[in-house]
Symmetry: C2
């Protein structure tokens, strides 16, 4: 089981790399057969090719992630609250999200689930 | 599937009732066969009797919960960041937690998972 530090470092790297548009760096955090359910309730994307396509959309939208509290780790999971600012359909939008990462024994993300809904999204005024 | 409002109201009621020591009120939010894994990685408690015993320990510790950001809802899930202050082994302790509730079709909590680890707990100084 990965250490708390390993999992915290992976979360920090995910936030930093996705915000920097480092698509290779983001995908490298995930196991080759990882699944991403974002948001929860939608069909999971599975595998590096699908993840690259999915996170590529976020990079194209100029997504910037900001942690909004401590990273929680438990067993082989990390959960963390954050918000993302992105350009979406001509508007600057903020979405409040909680991500849950499940890690494999190598410290790679095996499963990601993103929790947010319609009430967690708002246009950023004055942007 | 329960509405976002139903799930948000259940989370608000959970926070308020547990902080008020309303054990009956807390248990009533859960399905009769609900499971609680708190923290994630420990054996789940299943059913109202086990939940009453579990939450009774929190009430005895004078647990007070405070939300630390918006409730996120997705599909039949709610996820929320909070901290709890409690009296534990003679000390006042703060724990930063993310809870994930899965709801059944009746708006009851079918599964609760609590994410926190050793680095999310700290003694409250000056208490």
């Amino acid at each position: 089981m990965p250490s708390e530090e390993t999992m915290e470092n992976a979360v920090s790297a995910y936030v930093a790399r996705l915000s920097a548009g480092d698509l290779d760096g983001v995908v490298a955090l995930f196991a080759s057969d990882a699944s991403v359910e974002d948001p929860v309730g939608t069909p999971p994307r599975v595998g590096h090719a699908a993840l690259r396509e999915f996170f590529g959309v976020a990079v194209s939208a100029n997504a910037k992630l900001v942690l909004d509290g401590p990273i929680r780790t438990a067993s082989n999971y990390a959960a963390f609250p954050f918000h993302v600012i992105l350009d979406w359909q001509g508007r600057t939008t903020r979405i409040d999200v909680i991500d849950v990462f499940q890690f494999d024994e190598h410290g790679k993300i095996a499963e990601m689930r993103a929790f947010f809904g319609s009430k967690n999204s708002a246009a950023v005024t004055g942007a």
